[in-house]
């Protein structure tokens, strides 16, 4: 056993002892060819996957470097199977090359060996996209670029895409050194690194991918940094209108773009400009269930030089398909929690692009870029009269009863009293429950049915400090920036959703001069406890631990 920080497991996961003196140096090597899986306090888990290795190969990191680094950092001898995997998988990169063809309607797919060519031709879903060219190559129609890459990745042969992305219409812009609001502004080192990791040298294989950063760490700034580096016509797709406005305001505040250059494409206003911000909702809107999506053309026909998918883990299925056709465009996915309960993370990687940058949450917390947060799970009993109805209810009814446990109101009251000087969000799943809370404590409430103007007004009042408690439904789960919020009280949630829990915590992670507190109120001895445990998994893997408090009767 050597005094090294890394343990290489047989399943190709790598465990990094973060307390080891060389852990930082080791991490800087690992991020070149591994994917960060989880980062709790002591041992961070990285994984070698086909995608991470091919991604490394496309950035010029070869198997010799990878095996040498793994062996150098490993505490124990590295298993032969792991080294074989690295060599085998990386050797597949470059066997299928996508390049321009003489015919401008097509790209050319050159295949190194007859065996791979035969294997491709034998797959119906691949063969239908292939136009025979010569012994070594096929032609493919341009709009199949994403699909063929996706299918070939599934087959185990990543495409070495040597066609540079199209530049798009030029839109000169720069980041300000002082915000419009008069504050000093600069892009943080990790934000700069994230943008750089995505764009690389702007050559083949660069310019698309996913950036994973904790909530509150300034993903919007990373987006703007990329915009300022590319200076091109940009479409930003985000989750809701409030987020659209936030993007618009941030761009105005921190770049030299003018209001008339920034357009909004939402249900309320359809006004595309050089930089346009829209919602997933409007893109996937269709008047009838079987009909086409009329607004998807905004994506396909907008001649965008850059598309930013905000909260990319929310990417809806119809957008997946269109994204596959938009492979010639610079594109970036931004998210804090690339966990999808539908397990389609891999498709996000394939279509938007691989994970290019990821950083452990606790690292940014230690550096002061996100607030220190204390998580509490408060367990409260069911009222005695609900015990029997709960016992005989079905699973759904039980969850509903537990979620809407009326004794939670006492806890909310006490917690609000515990934080008299804080800005508090009370977040829940069930509107009826939230309405009771709002009316009981005379608090403003935002739900899906609250008109956008009213929402904006309430957000503004909260930001300006005129109200310090806001009751919100799941509409505020994502992309809502309320910088001063420091306490979140979660009264109910969407079953075991890990990303929802993390995103809700994210609402209070903007760095500020005080610590943040996240309270999750859970009914004791109910199935809500199990769901809560599942919800907490993602955050637990990021190093957050919940202090459990049993609420006295």
């Amino acid at each position: 056993m050597r005094d090294k920080p890394l343990i290489v497991q047989s399943d190709r996961t790598m465990l990094l002892d973060v307390h080891h003196q060389d852990s930082e140096a080791c991490r800087s090597d690992l991020v070149k060819f591994c994917e960060l899986i989880k980062s709790p306090e002591h041992v961070h888990t990285y994984s070698l996957s086909a995608i991470s290795l091919w991604n490394a190969a496309s950035s010029g990191v070869n198997s010799e470097f990878i095996t040498e680094r793994i062996q150098f950092w490993s505490r124990f001898p590295v298993s032969e199977s792991v080294l074989f995997y690295v060599n085998d998988i990386t050797s597949r990169f470059g066997k299928v090359v996508l390049s321009a063809s003489e015919d401008p309607m097509y790209y050319m797919l050159t295949i190194e060996s007859a065996r791979i060519k035969a294997e491709m031709a034998a797959r119906k879903n691949i063969a239908k996209m292939l136009v025979p060219n010569d012994e070594q190559s096929f032609l493919i129609e341009k709009y199949h670029r994403g699909e063929i890459k996706l299918q070939l990745i599934k087959l185990g042969y990543p495409v070495d895409d040597r066609i540079p992305l199209e530049k798009g219409i030029s839109v000169p812009m720069a980041l300000r050194e002082k915000t419009q609001g008069g504050y000093k502004f600069g892009v943080r080192a990790y934000q700069r690194q994230a943008a750089q990791a995505l764009l690389g040298d702007l050559g083949p294989g660069c310019g698309y991918g996913t950036i994973v950063l904790p909530c509150g760490s300034g993903k919007t700034v990373v987006g703007m940094q990329i915009m300022s580096l590319l200076q091109t016509k940009t479409l930003i797709v985000t989750t809701n209108i409030a987020a659209v406005h936030q993007w618009r305001d941030e761009i105005l505040d921190k770049t030299n773009l003018k209001r008339e250059q920034i357009g909004e494409y939402t249900g309320e206003s359809k006004n595309p400009k050089e930089v346009t911000v829209c919602t997933y909702q409007v893109l996937t809107y269709r008047p009838d269930k079987e009909g086409p999506f009329p607004h998807l053309e905004l994506l396909t026909k907008g001649e965008w030089g850059l598309i930013i998918y905000d909260e990319v883990h929310m990417l809806p299925a119809p957008v997946f398909k269109v994204t596959a056709e938009l492979q010639a465009v610079y594109r970036v996915g931004l998210t804090a929690t690339l966990v999808r309960e539908d397990g389609r993370e891999d498709e996000v990687f394939s279509l938007v692009g691989p994970k290019r940058f990821d950083i452990p949450w606790n690292e940014l917390q230690q550096q002061g870029f996100i607030a220190e947060a204390f998580c509490h799970e408060i367990r409260v009993d069911l009222p005695t009269e609900m015990e029997i109805p709960y016992a005989v209810g079905n699973k759904r009814e039980k969850f509903r009863m537990a979620s809407e446990n009326p004794l939670k109101l006492d806890v909310v009251k006490a917690l609000v009293a515990r934080h008299p000087d804080d800005f508090i969000l009370i977040i829940g799943q069930y509107i009826s429950q939230l309405e009771i809370i709002a009316s009981l404590f005379d608090l403003p409430i935002i739900t899906g049915s609250t008109p956008n103007t009213k929402r904006e007004e309430l957000y503004r009042l909260f930001k300006e400090g005129e109200i310090n408690i806001l009751v919100v439904s799941k509409v505020a789960n994502f992309a809502i920036d309320l910088p001063d919020a420091s306490v979140a009280i979660q009264v109910s949630g969407t079953f075991g959703s890990r990303s929802e829990e993390a995103q809700r915590l994210g609402r209070i992670l903007r760095p500020k001069d005080r610590a943040s507190f996240f309270y999750s109120i859970v009914t004791r001895y109910s199935n809500e406890e199990e769901f809560a445990a599942n919800r907490q998994k993602f955050l637990a893997e990021q190093g957050y631990s919940y202090e459990i408090e049993v609420w006295p009767h």
Binding site: I7, V8, Q9, S10, D11, T13, L15, H19, K38, P40, E41, H42, V43, R75, F76, P77, S79, R379, Y525, E529, A533, K537, A540, E541, G543, Y544, S545, Y546, E547, I548, V550
Partner: protein, 634 residues
Amino acid sequence: MAPLTKHAKEAFKTLLNRYSEENYFYLARNYLGLIKTPFHKPELTTKLCNFFSQPEIEGKILSLIDEMDQIILSLVHIGGPLTGENIISLLEGKWSYGKLVRRVSNLQERMILLNDGGSLIFNPLFEERIRLLCSLKPLLGEGPDVLQNGAYCSTEFVRAYLNVLDREQRLAYKDEYSSLFPSYSPEQLKLLFSLLGETLGRQCVITAEKRVSVNFEKAQQLLALSDRQLLCLLIAEPYPLEKERMQALLFSNELMALLDKVGSCDTASLTLLLRLLSLKTGLTYDSSLLDTLSTLGVLSLNDLWHANHIEEDALRSTLVIDSDNTISYSGSCPGSDILYRFSELTVLDRQTSYQVTPQSFTRGLDSNLTWTVIHTYLENNSYPLMSASLLKMLAITYERYQQITIYDGIVLVTEDRVTRLLTQLESMQDHIVAIINENTFLMKRSTEMTWRNILVQSGVLVPAKRTGERLEVTAEADNPFFEKLVQVSKLPPVPIDIPCMLDREPAMLDQTLHLAIETMKLTKAERSDLEQRFKAKMILVEDQIVAQVVNGVIEAGGFDYQGKVGLCRNAVGKHNIALQLMLPEQELIVQALEVAYTAQKEALLKAAVMPDMEVKIIPVSKIFLVRQLRYHLV
């Protein structure tokens, strides 16, 4: 070189004196030259002893050891005293039967191996130096001596297996288990689950009735073994008789020590090793042993058989408890470690991880662990700090766990007087499971007869049980031999002093001796005899080159019909003489039983064909060549 001990010399003389007159004088005349009569045998023996005690003689004898000799000697070194038949049978795949017979006899003629009551041992005069010439290879093939880090059935594996079993309450293997054991192939894992299910079931470490349950007390004893000892136990356990189990334990213990040194070998060499050790330990060789070794991961096949590195003392590191309640460590836990009883395996690998969940914690409590024990365990073993949130989660779960207690026992409702007896009688205390209230006691079901007796003797009239429904009480399964098996498995590792490979100079005959034979004035028979003994490496110094015939005619062939008949007749009834017969399509080694004649005066040899001793009648005219072999020098 250490001087010869008196003991070694005496041993040599004793062994030599046990030889038959014929063999004794054959050797004496070869090594001492002409022996004048009258002779004094003790004197001759001393002379022979002195002859072989000379360092230059010893050096010459040992310098003539070639690769085949070395392989035979290494075999004897590993296997202990072996009979000539044993040696020949073990090595028959490497060389022909005839060649082996000749070489084993030759090693005796060269006084390297001596006969000791039917078994061949190293000459006590050179024993230490012969040992230094032995090596595991090429006896056991030519593969590299590097151990692999393959997955094997370690105590950590068994611990993880029991954890999975306890959680799943079923013995059958499920494909999804492979993600818990990534270093094991799914095929091996499936076989290991089956093997452990059977073995641990027989030993009642697990019982599989309606649900599978683990006897953690027995498991603890099992897990206190080292990986090597555990593997030995698993190899030995299926043998039904105690004696066989002991033999199998010794067998597997030595096997693992040897494999540790050999590293890798081909199938033939491995089979040879298994047969050799079976012979040594008295175990009946069973070819399915190879499958067991492969399943257990002692060996893995990848062109060659590769021995896996079996960890001896990789003590468990401190526990790292992360915020997701994952507890991880590297190394091997002590037998008494309890983590696997209150957590769920997430991965068994270089770094092993378990996760503590309310459900797993509850299972731990169900298996008679107490909250205090778990708490203390976590506190004492955590690094860098105890996880407060984990403790809180466990404390809350424990509180919930305590809300209901299910007892199994017999409820005793008593009057005050009997209550006083029950609470005050010392002998009753072991039989009370719980005091439910002032006059209601829960008594042990298993000791009902005992406490009834105590009550009767205390003057209580004890009535029959009042039952609302029939209770089915099943006796806890047990295997009384388990503890003994664990005890005898605690064998220390076998020290292996034999090197894996030796670099040796090739054996070269001393041509000056040959020249001396050639130039000496000799009869044809004498020359032929000397030439034959020279080639057989029996001529070591010029003093041995004297005009005499030690062996007489040993070969006749071609048209020398009478010569062939004579050799056959000469060998009849002599157990130490075998005949090598060259027939049109085969070569036979036989022991001559009788020479008879047909009516046409044709000689027929009745012989037992070695090694099966099948009797055949062979016309001498059909034999091209007859060669006489000194078979056993006894």
